[in-house]
């Protein structure tokens, strides 16, 4: 079935043509071929930060369900390692044990989750009679990464007399994520390269005052974002559709400047035409944030058509630090592949 109009229109009060008939494969009369479909798909990398943590790419020629599946998998089903079990030896800080544990759990950890397996059993913790475990389990190099946090706040003997700021007067008044030390277990020392560490060193974990201390061993496990947001490998993974701004009628003079101001910076340029008049032209529709503010001005609203291309997904993936964004996308595709394989197996078992 040929696409009716591959655009959705941004009207003043509503979005038109949002229903995606293209993804409705059942009603299609044409026989569907994978090769043909895949041929249409294009992936263009638009931008990648030098550390590879942020990635922008365009996914063109697929329907929303496919793009959305990729987004959903990135958010919830690509595994990462996160602190799951904390063996708190000492916590005399003001912050409560549970709250501290929650904070520690949310810290992003730089360790390749692909080198680990999902934990098979529930982690040892509180036993059946509700009593906390007596001793910390050793941890399995296949499943765990262990970090240790051991901080004690003391008075700073070398502090200047007139100092008032806690960071000058005390040592370790603020506990940052840099305080964690990695404790290798088994052959992790040699196997895990680069060594596991915190992604950021400047995350404030807790504040201490002289005499207070925190001593904890944190066991990380592999998990999914579906289970808890701390396992999500991305800060966010999202897409938006490519905006299309169509000027139906020439906009000149003063109106052109107003037109330019109604869009985000750099979207509209003003050219001088042969008559010496200033004319608004679309320079880079990509940059538009789709505020639709141009529609306020009645005289301009009739001269422009705002729409977005439905099969052009501008993806943005921001990794939380364990893997590079490009790797995450690949991992997500692998998960997706695995899922389809599972589905095929299930469907075929039903058919058979």
């Amino acid at each position: 079935m040929p696409p009716v109009d591959n655009r959705i229109f941004m009207d003043h009060e509503r979005v038109l043509n949002t229903h995606d008939a293209n993804s409705d494969m059942a009603s299609s009369s044409e026989p569907w071929s994978v090769e043909k479909y895949c041929e249409r798909i294009r992936v263009e990398i638009v931008n990648e930060t030098s550390d590879g943590m942020e990635l922008e790419f365009d996914l063109i020629g697929v329907e929303a369900p496919i793009a959305n599946a990729l987004r959903r998998v990135l958010l919830a089903e690509v595994p990462t390692m996160a602190i799951e079990k904390i063996y708190m030896y000492q916590n005399t800080s003001l912050i409560q044990d549970e709250v501290l544990s929650h904070r520690l759990g949310l810290l992003p950890i730089r360790v390749d989750p692909r080198k680990f397996a999902f934990p098979l059993t529930k982690t040892i913790g509180i036993n059946e009679s509700g009593v906390d475990c007596d001793s910390e389990p050793p941890g399995d190099p296949k499943y765990n990464v262990i970090f240790e946090l051991k901080v004690k706040c003391t008075k700073n003997p070398t502090a200047p007399k007139d100092a008032t700021e806690p960071k000058d007067v005390f040592i370790n008044s603020s506990v940052y994520s840099s305080e964690f030390t990695w404790c290798p277990i088994g052959d992790q020392e040699t196997e895990l390269l680069p060594h596991p560490a915190m992604v950021h060193d400047d995350i404030l974990v807790a504040k201490l005052r002289p005499g207070q201390e925190i001593e904890a061993r944190c066991h990380c496990v592999k998990g999914l974002g579906r289970d808890h947001a701390k396992f999500s490998p991305v800060c966010t993974a999202t897409y938006r559709l490519l905006p299309i701004i169509k000027i139906k009628e020439e906009i000149k003079g003063e109106a052109a400047h107003l037109f330019q101001k109604s869009f985000s910076d750099g979207v509209i340029a003003i050219n001088v035409n042969s008559n010496g008049e200033e004319v608004a032209v679309v320079q880079d529709a990509r940059r538009d944030l789709c505020s639709r503010n141009v529609l306020i001005h009645e005289e301009l609203a009739s001269k422009v058509e705002l729409s977005r291309q439905r099969d052009h997904f501008m993806f943005s993936v921001e990794s939380s630090g364990a893997l590079r964004s490009s790797d995450l996308v690949v991992e997500a595709c692998k998960v997706l592949e695995e899922k389809t394989r599972d589905l095929r197996r299930l469907v075929s078992s039903v058919i058979r």
Binding site: A64, L75, A229, N293, R308
Partner: protein, 1146 residues
Amino acid sequence: MKEEEPSIDSIDEETVDLRAPVKTLADKWLLVKAFLRVRGLVKQHIASFDYFVKIEIRKILKANERIISDANPSFYLKYLDIRVGTPSSEEGFNQLNEKITPHECRLRDMTYSAPIVVDIEYTRGNQRVLRHNLTIGRMPIMLRSSKCVLKDQPPAQMAKLQECPHDPGGYFIVRGSEKVILIHEQLSKNRIMISRNHKKELTCEVLSSTQERKSKTYIISKKRRYYLRHNQLSDDVPVGIVLKAMGFENDHDIVSAVGIEERFVAGMAPSVEECERSQVVTQKQAVEYIGSKVRTTRTWGSSSKPKEHEARDFLSNTMIAHVPAVDGNMKLKAVYIGLMIRRLMQAEMGESESDDRDFYGNKRLELAGSLLALLFEDLFKRFNSELKKIADKTVIKPLAAAFDIVKHMRQDLITNGLTNALATGNWNIKRFRIDRQGVTQVLSRLSYISALGMMTRINSTFEKTRKVSGPRSLQPSQWGMLCPSDTPEGESCGLVKNLALMSHITTDADEQPIVSLLFKSGVEDLMLLPWTQIHNEDQHMVFLNGLIIGLTKDPMRIVRIVRAVRRTGFVNEFVSVSTNAAQRSVFIASDGGRLCRPYIIVEDGRSAVQDKHIQELHQGIRTFDDFIHDGLIEYLDVNEMNDAAIAVYDREIGAETTHVEIEPFTLLGVCAGLIPYPHHNQSPRNTYQCAMGKQAMGTIAYNQRNRIDSLMYLLVYPQRPLVKTKTIELCNFEKLPAGQNAIIAVMSYSGYDIEDALVLNKAALDRGYGRCLVYKHSKGTAKKYPNQTYDKVMGPSLDPTTRKPIYKHAVLDLDGIVCAGARLEHKQVLINKHVPVVSVDPVTQSATGPSGSAMTTRNVEFRESPISYKNPVPSYAERVLLTCNEDDSYLIKILQRQTRRPELGDKFSSRHGQKGVCGLIAAQEDVPFNDLGMCPDMIMNPHGFPSRMTVGKLMELLSGKAALFEGRFHYGTAFGGDQVETVKDELARHGFNYLGKDMLTSGITGQSLSAYIYFGPIYYQKLKHMVLDKMHARARGPRAVLTRQPTEGRAREGGLRLGEMERDCLIAYGASMLLMERLMVSSDAFKVDVCSTCGLIGYSGWCQRCRSSQTMATITIPYACKLLFQELQSMNIVPQLRLAKYTDGK
């Protein structure tokens, strides 16, 4: 209020008319800040208590300064001075801890009190003795009052004392709990009121109140004759006779006391005639007449006086008691009665309306100080009469040592009287027959705002059951004094009110300077004027606190002078002066309990406060008090406000304007002040928010982690609101916030959001949104008993096989108290206390000495009496406090903590009276997202808007969204704040839709939503109602002892009742077996042996009545039914059961 009002935060230059002489002052709200810095939010409580402790207590002493003995005329005791010392505590016998802090009292369940010390002079034998600093009792001290250790302490010092610098004070700590004496509203005393009684007749009444007496005097009219009615008169007495009895026999005087105008003379004629008819002509006759009517209700006081004395006593002391009869001269009283008759006549002739009882000028607010003064005086009188009794008994006895009264002064009468009254809230004052319940309440510490709200609460003495709307409805005179929004819903709606931000309640001011000022400024003494002058047309009466001071011919001169003198600061700034043209009177008030409020003075169409003053205020050169001293700002009470022309805004100032408002937002109270854009909301929504703001959890005080409260809810990550108000800044809500800024999408989602339900984003909850801490505490005391035994706290019991503590004692430390940090499970013991079986042993105590009782202590039996944890949801023991309390017993407090993440059914609310429960927790990937990839923390159904009309909420979202991108907190101050017009431009400037609507993509299908979604941050409060505290079900469980039926209520693990209506349904349906199962089998089925011949209940197959076992049958009946039969039997009623075989059929 109009939309185009220039914002108070950013003044728009163009709106100011250049021709106008006045320019709108931009930062007038700084005055509000300065006011609150000086007066504080609860200044009224503190000022009232200070007045009591410093001045009124001395007045009370003066009135009761002498104790004399009837037995020995040479004995006397005279109080010279009284003082309240600094807070201290008695630790054991005669050990004084001078360094007691309020927080220590809270933790140790003690009373924060200070000794009341007196200087006395008395006779011991034949000597005159002077004693100083004798303690007669202890006075609970109001926090932050002049006697409190927290008075004027800098924040650093407050932190040392473990006290929150933002805590308002104004409450007491009694036995560890914080008690507030609520403000009580009542009709003002000593004022003439015309009102209609239950028969709709006009009456004139005066409630007189003096230190000694409270009495109510009425003037009524029957058949155009006027009578005086009083509780102590058995019958109404004609006014003519009353006036004659006062010594004014001349009919002309009597008539001219009412008026010299024709209509008043005519009106008095029947009353004068009635005197004649009762043959009362002379004073003597009149006094005899009254003497025959006076009720003698003397209970104690032995001598019965002759009737004439009773009558004279009644006239001079009881009737209109507040009007003095100096040296027996009753002219003032006579004039007063004449005036009462005149007012009644005027009302009857339709010249004036009856007085409005709901008008705030006729109301007085009673505060902690005056209530305590009443109580203290009562106790002090009891204390003195007790001393007198002892003196009477002992002075006559010949003793070796001379009688020393000091040895008989017992402190506990006053101490216990005060603390008990504060602890229970029962105010019993026998003298005035006052018996009020619920005067004090426990300070609600759910949130900082709830504590503040409680301090400004006003209770009306009006009954809640009466169905009259008058006292409940909003009174126009409430403007600026009481918050129009903050009142509860339901039965006490409109009766419980709250003070507005800037209102102040006066305390009594000295009358003497005002009296002399009045006389100096041309008021003529009433005593010197002839009767005919009193109601002369060009004479105006001058009243001071309801008393006639004198007459003047130029009332405006008096008003001008009093105002001028007040503005210069020579008389108290709270003195008010107002006029009444119809009554030709000038009223001056200096009494306590009036509501008043500061206003900027306007002179010649020009606001007295100018830019330079504000500048000086800003620089800190000026304080609020300077504005008052310089005559730029003055306090107006409700009565004086009626004489003033007050402009709300500077630009409204006209030629006749006398004052201008400081800031209009101050007409709201603290609770309503938290609402952004309240002037755009439907008014009941603001009222709902006022109630809900008090249930929001967040932070309580800076010392919250040091407190051990019985219940405390805290938010793990509280935030300041993005859209704030000036009130929020002024009351420090930003520093102790209660809520979080949530990103809201206003859209329909999943269907689990109908009826105000909210959809929460699971990832937001994972990251800590709405996470809260719940603190509870358990308490145990280890006492010592009179028989030398004491409670013991024992270590854990060990399991004999494993040598480990048994489950119940698993969390106990070796000392028998739970260890800090332990996880507490259901039914585990927190304090393993053991109590001696025999604790009272009078025989040992009296018969043997301490050595003998020590013998018995050795083999005392102990019984377990543990304090255990009862909650199926585990908690952690955060802290254990081991201390001793005032009774010298050990006190153990254990603070327990739970951390909770929001779950289905938890209640949330925005600041616009829009509450909702969580209906669904959606996964992040399922939730819609905008072009930036942001997904909402909460999804709210748009159906919440049309019927509620909370436009303020829409505006909050818009301003909040702009605040995010501008990097500046926005204001939603009432009648001001950031305007939508500017906010929408800010949004557009940052590339967002100017309407605040974003284009969202469905997280489930991945396609764009066909509607634009209103999307942005709104400050949400998590309310204390959580599913975890409410959910309840029972399969089997405990039963009540008496009826053997399941217990009731969640706390007792009770069953869910199948009530009579449910029962009716089952009967109607015919489900008899289900009914049987519900009502008997699952409840209290009981097998009884019934004798089929006599029909009585037997036992073990034996009928005691028939002495046989042959006729017994066993049936099953509810135990409650069996109980009923036995109870009937005990009342000599014999219920007999007629038995038949089930199979016998019809």
